[in-house]
Symmetry: C2
Subunit: 406 residues, 2 copies
Amino acid sequence: MAVGLTRPDKLLPIQGIRLSAGCANLYNSQRNDLALIEISVGSACAAVFTTNSFSAAPVRIARDHLVKATPRYCLINAGNANAGTGKQGIIDCISSCQALAEQTGSTVQEVLPFSTGVIGKDLPVNNICNKLPVLFNSLSDEGWLNVAEAIMTTDTLPKGISRTVEIDNKTVTVTGIAKGSGMIRPDMATMLAFIATDAVISRKALQDILSYSVNRSFNRICVDGDTSTNDACLLIATGASNTPAIASGDDKNAAIIRNAIADVCLKLAQAIVRDGEGASKFITVDVCGGASEDECLQVAYVIAESPLVKTAFYASDPNWGRILAAVGRAGLKNLDIDGITIFLDEVCIVENGGRASSYSEYLGQEIMRRDEITVRIQLARGMSGATIWTCDLSNEYVRINAEYRN
Amino acid sequence: MAVGLTRPDKLLPIQGIRLSAGCANLYNSQRNDLALIEISVGSACAAVFTTNSFSAAPVRIARDHLVKATPRYCLINAGNANAGTGKQGIIDCISSCQALAEQTGSTVQEVLPFSTGVIGKDLPVNNICNKLPVLFNSLSDEGWLNVAEAIMTTDTLPKGISRTVEIDNKTVTVTGIAKGSGMIRPDMATMLAFIATDAVISRKALQDILSYSVNRSFNRICVDGDTSTNDACLLIATGASNTPAIASGDDKNAAIIRNAIADVCLKLAQAIVRDGEGASKFITVDVCGGASEDECLQVAYVIAESPLVKTAFYASDPNWGRILAAVGRAGLKNLDIDGITIFLDEVCIVENGGRASSYSEYLGQEIMRRDEITVRIQLARGMSGATIWTCDLSNEYVRINAEYRN
């Protein structure tokens, strides 16, 4: 039911990155569920992880390894989150990293682990380790799409995109892949994303670019308001393009590459929403005229997370009263409701504290039939704004999540 | 699909209160949708209303009237919320109050209006006014259940309860009715509640008792996390029992009557959850060992509002990882996950940061098959606690809210 999403076109290789995927039998069905990413020596890496206190074993280990070494390999599995698994989860995670280190001749700290899937089941370490030789021997710079497919859980489509930009007349490429479709909300969601570029970027600048990009993409989406234990987003700069080094945001070419990376992140984040569990509509919530970005986000998320608003979109029902009620309960102090204007796409639905005089059910119905709709709230309290993306709430969402483990 | 809820037994009359209900054709189907409550002279009244900034016209008018006069009549309609209706909504609301004032020989400020139903449609004032003579002439102290039925919207059952307590060897009665089943969350929900007692209570003490009771009942429930524009809860003390007056919480009999009123509020609030839209399970979320009541409520609501947790309950799936993930993302600072214990009824599911060693899928499955389940979180951070009540999220919820206006 993905909205306006298709299989990625050919994903462009990034010199210095090789990838492979295979089946480690982590699902009952035969499907690829294990992936390997090799990162060339001399690359810089930046990462952001879930803010969930119950972060999964691989998140804790990856955080630790990133401090101690520059990563050479990512080991990623779907089908098992290795979360809520206590001390055994940590042991299992390190064991699989150790096996890959031995296979590849790297140190255990040079391996970053990532897991996604059901919480609370022990990681089948042997299944994973047994598959490592095959994966290692099939590494290829053409492996992006294979990996995008291997890391899917409830995703209906693989997610990936490439961008090229010119820096000093040389082409620089950014390619990213992601998975995620449920348990999605700000501060990272049940999502994994791996983005690489052949630009030359220092680790410090890379982390700044990643924070900038994530705050405008993965941290601005919402499917169901849940934040996972396993979210992670990794950004790699291999430097293989030999373009001038970017060491800070002030550097001449910093904005070019930052915007390219931010765009890749945004498209991946939107792809996650478009493939949201049970989604039949892609909704942009755009709040402007706020006293601060925070209060705009507050209003936007109340709308995006309201089951009543989401079911109205699902039903193509212009029940704009639910949007109005959601704005009203967002907790903004001294909100002057007479100043608020609400639009569905180009149609004004609320002004002067009630239904807009120009509004008609017919106009609302026309908008609601669309697959992609923007809700725009003008708060008339200031100059700040925020935009987030979400989807509707359908019977299919409930079915997927009620039957997930069966 | 109401869980453990049946039609109320006979509701006990309260001397000084007369009620009636009828059909004003606010729905397409023939059903009672208009109700009248008469309050005897000399009664005290207390009320709490929605915190939604887009409060409906009747909420604004009722607040205003309560300041200016002691109410003699409540005029309640279902089928139309008169919210999001701007200035016209205010005019319509006052018109209907004025008509009732003329019918009953009271002042317009002595009439409190209440509405519930679809947001954003003009109130059919003539339908309401035309019905007032019939309603006025059929007032009866036996009308409680009729009114409980007339104010229903998506409710599947009327909600009401009576309690009697002894004060100085005299029987004092408390009877309450409520409606509400969707758009339910703290700080009042799409719910109306009318509670009356024949005890003698000052207005000040009555407001204290109402705040106390609402904070342990209507403000502790959650169906879908939405807060309505129309919520209101009215508490009336007619004084007809001629028992000693209660002027403050320190008075000898204050605790007796306060507990009876709080119990009526709690049972009505739980009835709303039991009749939650599409509910198939009644879930108690009990968080203890917190550093403050606020942080316990924070954790409790994240669990109660998580679509993933709610769909797992619907599926009777002991996917306890979703509960663990919800606790982890509740935003508590310095949360020591190793200290947290989580129980489903009597079965420990999480301890030491992961699945409890004594837990088995079989034990979890046994609990999840039950209609009524308690999730108990022990945070091990302090001595505070909080309990809230919620229900599961089913296909039926989506169906009801997608088709609500059709």
